[in-house]
Symmetry: C3
């Protein structure tokens, strides 16, 4: 994929993360500072945790300042605008899914660059894609949504996208093709899971 | 400012952080271990997160053992003493404001030393000043107080102090003057915000 | 102690951590993804936080992939098996105590290797032994169990084991003997604390 497209998708992911952060902050009755903090953490928290675990310092948003600035500008706009706040998780489904796919593949790629095992690379894909939302919910004092039984496949899509990306890279395909396929799979799987309400099976009901 | 004064203010910040940690731990019905943990995290958590993000390892309290020891000694005293526990957030307003100012300027300064952008330096000022309290509330299972609508300007004071400090440094003023002005502004703003109950405006009531 | 024994005890600690993670995840009504995440964090979160603070990167489970894999396999088995879920905290008392002892001594040892002060080494012992459970409870939206007034000595056992280990090393005893003694003390103290319901005293009742 072209660098331009990669950047576009990454920023789309940051924007949708920031908006979902503001929505949750509003629900928790926070002020502008809280909304900005939660937006930043939702948008950039997964990548930050990945950088911590892999030892990539300073973390990515210290060097690429654009991500942090965008997330705060979006938070500001969203907090003071009913137009943005009219956005529901439904209307953000597609940008959120794109962000999930993009971040997962980026996370797996950064891990592979450090020659980690495939297991760890997959894990880093999932952490990058999913943990922003987990940290958002922890700070808003809720059980993380993506860990709930009622949530349609989410981390699972990140897992599948990451694994496919890693496999394609190992098989010698070029990075553009592998990224595109991994992201596409993750996004499609997420959209289908929501459309058909697919959730992880749980045969034991306690 | 003299090194002695800097140290004095930093320790005052650690002490007021530790006491506020014990008070919250008491409210959450914790035992001595919980109180010590929450005191330590409140006093030193912001600086720790800053060091993580900037890649300053080992984190500051590993090298400067005094901070950790003081925070635990204060926790011990405060946990077992009604005198300390009589301290309310009101009576700790001034040491807490001094700590907020001091930590914010320290955080911004450490970031500048690593040649980060001014945006990131400001962010690190706020993280250092504010996130100890955020982590305290997360561990005590509450929505962070500083993100609440009823809280008078807090992170905002840290923001203003950090920005002014960075500007003065860039304009070529010496560090002592810049620190003093940044801390003073932050502290005054915080005290005035509490005195006149100034909060961030929120024109949208959801 | 032989390397084999050390590994055995470390894995036992990981397994009991993972199982306790799944039990809490079930209580919080999480799905398989949540159970795996909480199991991983409970089993490996303490050591991860220690590595963050000490600046040991990448963190241990990036290099020693076995720990992460075991914790997820256990999570999978435990989540789908009533047999594992029949396990109560009572029946896991001994493996959990062994894990607490082992992790505490490991944490203290890693700190000593970096020539930290004894204070920090003790702290790292406690963080490694105890913070997996703290993070588990934070993610499951509860006040950390080990900080509660009703919990029998837990972090205290980790403290005693770590201090004794560090003292013995300083006195020139060989590492095997020091480790064995530290772990044994921590485990015995924990088992006795549960048996006789020993808790930290709290003369002030608020």
């Amino acid at each position: 994929m072209s660098d331009f497209l990669v950047s576009m998708i990454a920023y789309l992911g940051v924007i949708s993360g920031a908006i979902s952060g503001v929505i949750e902050a509003r629900r928790a009755d926070m002020d502008l500072v809280g909304a900005c903090a939660v937006a930043f953490i939702t948008a950039l928290g997964g990548g930050t945790l990945r950088d911590f675990c892999l030892g990539r310092f300073p973390v990515f948003w210290v060097e690429e300042t654009g991500y942090g600035i965008i997330s705060l500008v979006v938070a500001l706009l969203a907090f003071y605008s009913t137009r943005f706040l009219g956005l529901t998780s439904k209307s953000m489904l597609i940008p959120d899914a794109l962000g999930l796919g993009m971040f997962s593949i980026l996370g797996a790629e950064y891990a592979l660059q450090l020659n980690t095992s495939f297991f760890v690379a997959t894990l880093m894909g999932i952490v990058t894609g999913v943990f922003g939302g987990v940290l958002r919910d922890v700070i808003c004092n809720k059980i993380p949504l993506v860990f709930g039984k009622k949530t349609q496949l989410y981390a699972t899509c990140s897992l599948v996208g990451s694994v496919v990306y890693i496999l394609l890279i190992q098989l010698g395909f070029d990075q553009g093709f592998a990224s595109f396929t991994g992201i596409l799979l993750c996004v499609l799987m997420r959209l289908l899971a929501v459309r058909y309400n697919v959730r992880l099976p749980d045969p034991i009901n306690l």
